[in-house]
């Protein structure tokens, strides 16, 4: 449980920090620091247990479905990192208090910093590899926030995005690798994974898994060729650099290598990839560091180089390499953190980080200079400082490896070369900044920083010296236990002494120092040579890469999504053709077993008319009025077909819908151009005809196949129960209002919504109202022909009577609410046509919206009514009554339901047409060219 508290306390610190915005900066720092300090105390409390070889575990069920649990583990390696994270973290809190200016939000900074700390603690304490990944990604996120802290600067924005991109990509690779690892092992539990090294390494997927995980580690640790993001992350405030790029963020990758060392290391592949990557990074970083004029740039490349060194160590196949790696992790963290802080002080007090301007600062800030010089010396590997010790171990281990077979001698040589550059850039850091004449063009007069800003540096430099002088006393315990955690078994003998006698590693150190100083003195020539090389700005490259990707994506997407509906429809139809067409070829015989009906001449005539109508429609599709007349034949013949094939209800519905549709299309014809221009090229027409006829053939074939097969359906039930269960003899109607009344409820809702939508569509619509027809004829003057007006008046009562008739008989004979509604509506539309909408609305000022709502409400209420009889929604009820004189009369809830349908249909249809009519009153006709 206490384990959980370590990250939890730091998370708590983040939350506390975020609310300290209004407080004094010092108070804010103190409040922030309390929680990590407690966490550090907890870690110290557990130290003896860890040193004695214990591993503390704590686990909490979280996501059993996936196999992620909240599971923590404190062993030597974790403890080492916890110390670094919390220790240096606390120092950074103190340092940042003085570093950040009044303009910067302290609260936000600390909140982000503590969030980052939480993420780091989470990584190192995770005992579940997916949980580890979660925290891993959290470091990417929180570091993004920290690097972009000064987002007003373009470099900060770009640097942060680049860091996020690279580490994010690595994170994805890592996730893939970890899931594969989990699959190989059968568990995401780190303890299990660490014990399954042999299983993993012998698995077929080991190479892929390894590469994916290494991708994660290398991107995070800025290993070549992913190193380029790190220097640009230096746009962050220096406390961030001091924290992220010494002890934490970049070390997370190293931690990962160390963590999975028992599970993944020990194969040729590992040594080759890890070793060579480390070596390349080591050399490249050290070399470039020399040429950076920016103080933090120098430190950044130095960091890359040192990370390469550690990686190389982890990639060496010698027994003590891992120990050396761990030792260098500690040492690098200490001296690099202090150096960043020193650089920050210099920047803070002198206003620049450019070494070409910074000269002779020793005079102005001797105390800080001394501290920086010591730390720098440690970085160069000067004896009596901690850097020297681990570097000696490193040199020693390079001599014992056989990674490159017969060419293994290259490694110590190149390591020495890297040492040369390390000495050179360290020398530059000391000489070029603190000596070398006078400062040039500084805006500020440099001086010593505030007292407490120096304290963190002092502590760290002191550690450099203490570790350097009495290593056994300080780091033995932690180094041993961490190393055991990495190597996985008892360590071979080693000795953390300052003096090992005159030996090859010492010689290598000596060469490095001598040659390094030589290189530094001859730096002009090197600088000239370097300047002659083309400079590569990773930031610019990254931006260019993103821009290019965006450009290409846009081009690609625009070429596909070209905004052409015709293309979209074509693709849709092509899908239909393929998916519906292919299975047709699976059929052995298209025709089924049913006997066919003979073709009578009158049917042939009907079909002929239908086909002729359809063809005429497409032949004249550019002369719209003619195509409209032609398509009416089709509608008429469809109704006839419904009559012919025993569907009187359908025939009625189709007929009446046809009339209303024609009216709608007439409206469309008026408000749209009269003719369709010839636009399609001949190949396009051929293509369209080809796909249209192909689909026609497919659908026709399917239809034929279906028609010629016997059908056994659930409909026998409807026939059997319509009268007894639904109270009607028109089975279609009983289905509509009873068996499947729910469909009908939805259907009238659709109609109602359509009417509302149309009303909405017509709001504030500037209509095109041509003053003449397509051939330039002015419209006739007579608005309301007398004959039409008076006949339509006389027809209205008759139509209403017929509606009532059709409505009432619907349950037993062809008819029903829908048809009746359309008849009524059509009669009203006739009034609109004959008299105009003003005339109608002055006589019948109905609110169609309310009519529609009431209609649907009646239908809905009929359905809900059955609840009061403890029946499901829409359960119908009917009863026969004997009325004197009249005889047997049926009352049915279905009639109420159908009434709802009727009202909705009337309301919707009229709303659609009336709202359009109303609109034209307001608009004067205008010429539209």
């Amino acid at each position: 449980m206490a384990l959980l508290w370590i990250p939890l306390l730091s998370l708590l610190a983040s939350i506390i920090a975020s609310v300290t915005g209004s407080l004094n900066r010092t108070v804010s720092a103190w409040l922030t620091a309390i929680m990590p300090a407690i966490a550090l105390a907890i870690a110290i409390y557990y130290t003896p247990a860890i040193f004695s070889g214990e591993t503390l575990l704590y686990s909490l069920e979280w996501l059993p479905a996936i196999g992620i649990s909240l599971s923590f583990r404190l062993d030597g390696l974790a403890l080492l990192f916890v110390f670094m994270i919390l220790g240096i973290g606390l120092l950074v809190i103190l340092y940042a208090r003085y570093y950040l200016s009044e303009n910067d939000s302290m609260a936000k900074f600390y909140a982000f910093l503590m969030l980052f700390m939480t993420a780091m603690l989470g990584i190192v304490l995770s005992n579940n590899i997916l949980q580890l990944w979660v925290f891993w990604e959290l470091t990417s996120v929180s570091s993004f926030l920290l690097i972009s802290f000064w987002w007003h600067q373009s470099s900060a924005r770009k640097g942060a995005r680049m860091a996020l991109a690279v580490t994010g990509a690595g994170g994805l690779a890592l996730l893939a690798g970890l899931i594969m690892l989990g699959n190989i092992v059968g568990s995401y539990d780190l303890s299990v994974v660490l014990q399954s090294g042999d299983l993993i390494k012998s698995h077929a997927l080991y190479p892929v898994t390894l590469v994916l995980i290494l991708l994660g580690a290398f991107t995070k640790s800025a290993q070549f060729p992913f190193h380029f993001w790190l220097p640009h992350a230096m746009s962050a405030p220096t406390p961030v650099s001091a924290y992220l790029h010494s002890a934490t963020m970049v070390k997370a990758g190293i931690f990962l290598l160390a963590r999975f060392y028992p599970a993944l290391a020990g194969t040729e592949l590992w040594f080759l990839i890890v070793g060579l990557t480390g070596l390349a990074t080591l050399l490249l970083g050290a070399y470039i560091a020399l040429f950076k004029h920016d103080l933090k740039g120098l430190l950044a490349y130095s960091t890359i180089s040192h990370l390469g060194l550690i990686t190389l160590l982890l990639g060496l196949d010698t027994q003590l390499a891992a120990v050396a790696a761990i030792f260098h992790i500690i040492n690098h963290a200490i001296f690099k953190a202090s150096l960043f802080m020193a650089a920050g002080i210099i920047d803070h007090e002198s206003g620049t980080r450019d070494m070409r301007k910074l000269n002779g600062l020793f005079k102005f800030m001797p105390y800080t200079a001394t501290l920086a010089m010591v730390a720098s010396a440690s970085m160069a590997g000067v004896p009596l400082l901690n850097g020297f010790l681990s570097k000696e171990m490193f040199f020693a281990e390079t001599l014992h490896q056989q990674v490159l077979g017969s060419m293994s001698w290259l490694i110590p040589v190149l390591a020495t070369l890297a040492g040369v550059f390390a000495v050179a850039y360290s020398a530059r850091f000391i000489h070029d900044v603190f000596f070398n004449g006078k400062p040039i063009g500084l805006t500020k007069m440099p001086h010593e920083p505030p007292r407490y800003m120096r304290v963190p540096v002092e502590i760290l430099v002191a550690l450099c010296i203490i570790v350097g002088v009495v290593p056994n006393f300080v780091v033995d315990g932690i180094l041993t236990s961490a190393s055991i955690a990495v190597v996985g078994h008892a360590l071979p003998e080693y000795n953390l002494a300052i003096w090992h006698g005159f030996n090859l590693p010492l010689l290598m150190s000596f060469i490095a120092v001598v040659l390094g100083l030589f290189v530094y003195t001859q730096r002009k020539h090197f600088f000239q040579f370097q300047a002659s090389l083309p400079s590569i700005d990773a930031k610019a490259w990254f931006e260019l890469w993103v821009q290019t990707s965006v450009k290409f994506s846009s081009k690609f997407i625009n070429s596909i999504e070209n905004g052409s509906l015709q293309r979209y429809i074509f693709l849709f139809l092509l899908s239909v053709l393929v998916l519906a067409g292919l299975p047709l070829f699976d059929m052995i015989q298209l025709a089924g077993s049913e006997s066919l009906m003979p073709i009578s001449p009158q049917n042939a005539v009907g079909a002929g008319l239908l086909i002729a109508g359809a063809l005429a429609t497409i032949i004249w599709h550019r002369v719209r009025i003619v195509s409209l007349i032609s398509i009416s034949i089709v509608g008429l013949m469809v109704s006839v077909a419904f009559t012919r094939f025993s569907a009187p209800d359908l025939a009625l519905t189709q007929l009446i819908v046809e009339v209303v549709t024609v009216i709608l299309l007439m409206l469309a014809l008026f408000f749209l151009p009269q003719k369709t221009p010839k636009e399609s090229s001949s190949p396009r027409i051929l293509r369209d005809l080809a796909i249209a006829s192909s689909i026609g053939v497919v659908v026709g074939s399917i239809c034929y196949a279906m028609l010629t097969r016997p059908l056994s359906s659930i409909s026998d039930f409807f026939l059997a129960n319509a009268k007894t269960g639904g109270g009607g003899t028109n089975v279609v109607n009983v289905i509509l209002v009873d068996f499947r009344g729910f469909d009908t409820l939805g259907e009238i809702t659709v109609l109602g919504i359509a009417a509302l939508g149309i009303y909405k569509l017509l709001a504030n619509l500037p209509l095109f109202m041509p003053s003449s027809d397509g051939e330039g004829r002015l419209w006739a003057r007579e608005r309301h022909p007398i004959l039409l007006a008076s006949v339509s008046q006389s027809l209205l009562p008759l139509a209403l009577l017929v509606s009532v008739y059709i409505f009432l008989r619907g349950h037993n004979l062809p008819g029903g609410g829908f048809i009746a509604g359309l008849v009524t509506a059509t009669a009203f539309i006739l009034q609109y046509m004959a008299h105009g909408s003003q005339w109608v609305s002055s006589r019948f000022d109905a609110n169609y919206r309310k009519i529609i709502a009431s209609g649907i409400l009646i239908a809905l209420a009929t359905g809900v009514g059955s609840w009061f009889f403890n029946r499901p929604f829409l359960t119908s009820w009917f009863e026969y009554f004997k009325v004197p004189l009249v005889g047997k009369v049926e009352l049915a809830s279905a009639i109420a339901f159908d009434l709802g349908v009727y009202i909705t249909v009337v309301g919707s249809t009229l709303m659609i047409l009336a709202s359009l009519g109303k609109l034209t009153i307001a608009t004067e006709p205008k010429e539209n060219n």
Binding site: A780, L788, S794
Partner: protein, 110 residues
């Protein structure tokens, strides 16, 4: 038997008039003349068919069937309106009348 003959004759008359109406639609030289066939001959043809139906259903089904009259009524009401609107449209479109049509100057600008 008489009933059957009666129905048959009526149907044949009806069919004939309907056909003649449509022949007129095709045969006449101008729109105004074409209009006469459908508005007249067809009306009578329809009436004959409907009476046939009336007689037929009165004999074959229970009770007499007279509702077919209604169709005729509706046609009598609506057919002149269709014709009227059509001829108005034709006049508006200034369709050519057959050469020698008298009284063209009676048509006013609409």
């Amino acid at each position: 038997m008489i009933f059957e003959w009666f129905v048959s004759v009526l149907l044949l008359i009806g069919g004939a008039f309907i056909l003649i109406g449509s022949i007129g639609l095709n045969k006449m030289p101008d729109f105004f003349m074409r209009l006469h066939g459908p508005t007249k001959a067809t009306t009578l043809g329809m009436a004959a068919v409907l009476i046939a139906a009336m007689v037929y259903f009165s004999f074959t089904q229970n009770g007499i069937s007279v509702k077919e009259i209604l169709i005729s009524v509706f046609l009598l009401i609506t057919a002149p309106i269709s014709g009227y609107m059509l001829i108005k449209a034709a006049i508006h479109h200034k369709l050519e009348a057959k050469k020698g049509t008298k009284g063209l100057d009676n048509i006013e600008d609409d």
